[in-house]
């Protein structure tokens, strides 16, 4: 296969991404229509049949499912996902008003995971088969094994209840962000650490590192500028999947820490049957996962110059 230009790749990835998001919201729409009639959530026993019919009409729930689906798609293309059944505000703005909170938490967790995982992985690789290495690897296994909802509660128990250092939940200053960030980012940092470690071990044995040493480069330059860049490729590859896991993780972490983001909103709306907001939320979430994966694909050439030259 010859070298492809960035724009060709970007175009085909975007097209695939749109298809994926389309399928996701179609599935969610159809499954949600199998649910108990949402009108039942919103009315009491005293509501008359006429009023119920009127409500159904207003909410776009009347008529055959096929027609409803086509109408839904037609409106969705224009970014109109209907109004919240509860607050009557547009569903999409209901979700986007929460987005910044989730974005804050997600970004903090991502940065935390890389800032902890990558240096730890490098150190473990350089001190391979020493107690440092074993400790780092054991920490990684532990980080992968701890259920995040339990970790969150334990952190609250020690740091918020016993020591009173941090707030137990809610959002506000930077101190509100600390415990949720650790809870959400620990798993990802364990994965990054393991990938960085094995990548570094591979690359430190290669010819180009030997050449760099022979040239008389300082060891720290070799490690952090040349070798690490090579070792980061698998870390970057898995980043797209990590973002997906993290977004799913926010549903749990936001619930544990009463963090007012999309995850908590989703849990609430789904339980009360507020389907427009739910679909809007899933649309936003799956779009961001798709975009994250496209960005990861586009970042390969920056990390690995060989891809830029089209040799892979």
């Amino acid at each position: 296969m010859g070298p492809q230009s960035i724009s060709t790749i970007l175009f085909s990835r975007l097209l695939q991404g749109i298809l994926v998001v389309f399928v996701v919201i179609s599935v969610v729409f159809l499954v949600s229509r199998l649910a108990r009639n949402p009108v039942e959530y919103l009315t009491t026993d005293e509501t008359t049949q006429e009023e119920k019919e009127l409500l159904k009409e207003q909410l776009g729930l009347s008529g055959p499912i096929g027609i409803q689906y086509v109408k839904f798609l037609w409106n969705a293309v224009q970014l109109d996902l209907g109004n919240s059944f509860i607050s009557a505000r547009p569903a999409l703005s209901e979700v986007s008003s929460r987005a910044s909170k989730t974005l804050q938490l997600g970004a903090a967790a991502l940065i935390f995971s890389l800032a902890l995982g990558v240096p730890l992985g490098v150190i473990a690789a350089l001190r391979r088969a020493t107690p440092t290495d074993w400790a780092a690897r054991f920490l990684a296994v532990l980080g992968q094994a701890i259920p995040n909802f339990w970790l969150g509660l334990i952190l609250i128990f020690f740091f918020a209840v016993q020591l009173d250092l941090m707030p137990t939940g809610g959002s506000g200053g930077i101190e509100h962000l600390v415990l949720p960030t650790i809870t959400l980012g620990l798993l990802a940092s364990a994965v990054s650490m393991r990938l960085t470690r094995s990548g570094m071990i591979d690359v430190m044995g290669t010819d180009f590192v030997r050449t760099a040493r022979a040239k008389g480069l300082r060891e720290s330059t070799i490690i952090w500028r040349h070798a690490l860049r090579h070792a980061l490729l698998p870390v970057a590859t898995i980043l797209g999947i990590q973002v997906g896991y993290m977004i799913a993780g926010t549903v749990i972490v936001e619930q544990v820490f009463a963090w007012p983001g999309i995850g908590r909103l989703m849990l609430h709306t789904i339980l009360v049957g507020d389907f427009p907001v739910m679909i809007a939320g899933i649309l936003v979430i799956s779009t961001s996962i798709v975009v994250a994966n496209i960005l990861v694909d586009l970042s390969y050439p920056i990390i690995d110059p060989r891809i830029r030259a089209g040799t892979r």
Partner: protein, 299 residues
């Protein structure tokens, strides 16, 4: 995506094959096997081993601390929860729920995933594109959100949890098997089998599959802790097992409201999850290093 992770790991094929893993792993392996056995026994024989009915409420015996604390008693070695239910019994029945999820979800998703991976990697073309797009869709729709939706539409139940986990975990096997088939199909022994007129079925089952079995076994082992964690997380959010069922996640969710006055209702099931998932991971890592060091970068 995982396939790319393997391909992108430079030089991973060159690493020497070491049998048996390192001695550090061996040291950790013995306790790991003991814990896994304890988990198995507790799950299978929960009804014989537990002294109490896990769902029996005794309000007079609320929040009794575990036996090693001053106010505790050996009648309830791990204490009781906010409704006076015996925590040890509930932890054992919780092991049964986790075990049930493991023995149903993992074989099912491994079978479906292997079949689809073989199909995609061998037939290529339309099948391959179709199956890989389904995988993309799954990656873009977090299992937890889908589980939320399902629990509202069809209600919370163990069966739904199992189905959701299967729906979301077969694709991991499919991607891995597909990647292996793609590299195996160009190997000389496969090309030779084709040239000698062997049927697709014969090639796949006699030549390709035996070369992939290790990969599948390793992936299945590493899936044990993740499947247990998913079930626990869903039950924690009250969208997993039906209310009242003694599941580790549900126990933590209930104990959460009392965690400032009683630590044991959330610690006991939490430690159970942690131990099983920790040992499952250690065991899986050891198996991988023993059977197939090449896979070390998959997770």
């Amino acid at each position: 995506m995982a396939a790319r992770a393997v391909a992108a790991a430079p030089g991973s094929l060159l690493r020497g094959v070491r049998l048996g893993g390192s001695w550090q792993q061996a040291v950790l392996l013995a306790p790991a096997i003991i814990i896994l056995l304890a988990f198995l026994v507790a799950g299978v024989f929960a009804d014989l081993l537990s002294a109490y009915d896990p769902e029996q409420i005794v309000l007079q015996e609320r929040l009794i601390p575990p036996a090693f604390q001053a106010e505790g008693s050996w009648a309830h070695p791990l204490g009781t929860d906010n409704l006076g239910r015996d925590i040890l019994s509930r932890v054992m029945y919780g092991a049964r729920v986790s075990l049930l999820v493991v023995v149903t979800c993992i074989p099912a998703s491994a079978l479906i995933g292997t079949f689809c991976g073989l199909l995609a990697g061998w037939r290529l073309g339309w099948w391959d594109r179709f199956l890989m797009r389904i995988v993309d869709v799954q990656l873009a729709l977090p299992a937890i959100l889908f589980a939320l939706l399902i629990s509202v539409v069809f209600g919370a139940s163990l069966l739904n949890v199992i189905l959701i986990i299967i729906i979301f975990s077969w694709s991991g096997y499919a991607r891995l098997v597909r990647a292996d088939v793609l590299s195996l199909r160009e190997q000389e022994f496969v090309v030779a089998a084709r040239a000698s007129g062997a049927s697709d079925r014969r090639i796949l089952f006699r030549h390709v599959l035996p070369n992939i079995v290790n990969t599948i076994v390793i992936m299945a082992t590493l899936d044990v802790p993740s499947v247990i964690l998913i079930e626990a997380a869903l039950s924690f959010l009250n969208i997993g097992v039906a209310p009242g069922t003694p599941s580790w996640g549900a126990m933590i969710s209930e104990g959460r409201n009392f965690m400032t006055i009683a630590w044991w209702p959330i610690w006991m099931p939490g430690i159970a999850i942690l131990l099983v998932s920790l040992t499952g991971n250690l065991f899986g890592d050891w198996l991988r290093d023993t059977l197939d060091p090449r896979l070390r970068n998959v997770r």
